[in-house]
Amino acid sequence: MIQIVNLEKAFGDNHVLRGVSASVDKGEVVVLIGASGSGKSTLLRCVNLLEVPDAGEIWIDGVEVTAKGVVKHEVRRETGMVFQQFNLFPHKRVIDNITLAPKKVRGMSAEAAEELAMELLRKVDLADKARSWPHQLSGGQQQRVAIARALAMQPKVMLFDEVTSALDPGMTGEVLNVMKELAADGMTMIVVTHEMAFAREAGDKIIFMHDGVIVEEGPPSQLLVNPQHEATKEFLSKVL
């Protein structure tokens, strides 16, 4: 469903992506791992065009989103993203955080959007917090709202950018559980994470990145247990 072909991206002299090719099937959960600065977050942010690649192609559902003339915000409707820092809108209540985009982008009526938001809040187990303000929630709760907010656009793929890295250790479980449920529901997901347990349990495919290239990829049973490359072995020996 997603094809990434020879993607390149540089920030000044810093070549973050140096020819990355990968594909993600419908319903697949792909986990991107690698050290800080290996390019995994940049790759993720290229998929919804928050970063514009310098060269290469990205295809989503048969459409080349990196082509000239593609309207970025139309691509982003189909690609939900959850951030490390949650980025909830602090001036809006939980429910309004979720209904904003469906109303303004999809043109949904207020009633329909609220119904959808409540359904998603029940899914992330926060229906009782609909009228709360973001600052009244714990980090884990905020991140679950952020997931519900992205889901409200009914995207074709969900992108997760180190979503548990800013959480207290006790709160990562509740967020990872929501992601596992999502994966079980058949959502196509690309997940950048350092949570190896999650990668092993929920990942269909693991991609290991090093210095802007994909060094190795494969199912968790293979890549985590029996890595082929030195860089992969070294990285795994540090995190496992």
């Binding site: 820092q85 980025n87 809108f89």
Partner: protein, 258 residues
Amino acid sequence: MVLVNFALDFNKLLAQAKELLDVIAAKIQNIINFSLIYSSFPKLLDGAKVSLLISLCSVILGVSLGIIVATGRLSKFWPTKAISSAYVAFIRGTPMIVQIFIIHYGLAEFGVTLPAFASGIIALSLNSGAYMGEVFRGGIQSIDPGQTQAGLSLGLTPFQVFRYIVFPQAFRRVIPSMGNEMVTLTKDSSLVNFIAIAELTYRATLIASRTYEYFTMYIGIAIVYFAITFALSQLLALLERRMGPYDSDSKPGKGLRR
């Protein structure tokens, strides 16, 4: 002997003090002519209305202009950026009275003759727009880029992100400094008396030069200006308290605050 001398001196001192107080009391009654204030009250009230109207129009136009200038300065499109930056630099680098004269007298040479009232509002708005622009620019820049990214990632257009996410947060943050600019503008509105707009200061000057009661008139209108700006400050403080219960300083990720 020393004691008697002291007592005498003390009595003398007391007498002198009393004399001085009497003189001051008489002076106050002399220098503040209450009956003049009373008789010129309707005219001053008219002047105050004009001052308020000019200030109000200029504040509204100035804030609107300021928002445009702020987005212009933050734009990635260089001509917009250059024009807004030059405009802000020019306004900040020249005296306001000169700006008023340019609009009212200077433009007349090019066939643009505006009524004084219009010139006054235009000059004040243009002036305030530059300062408001800087206030809003700071406010917009203070919003975490993550907010913009989150909005964009949901498929909102860049304009929608600004309209629904960045601006509402920036606006709340700039209320105190925006209030300062509003108070400054209200006081500066007195400068348009130089192009013969019959506002508060102009009327006070007319009456004072006819009656020679300068102190009375200027103390009188000083109190009026103070009353207006004080009321404005209270109004803004109220606005600040009412604008939503979220803590603008609380950063997501820090868990519970307040």
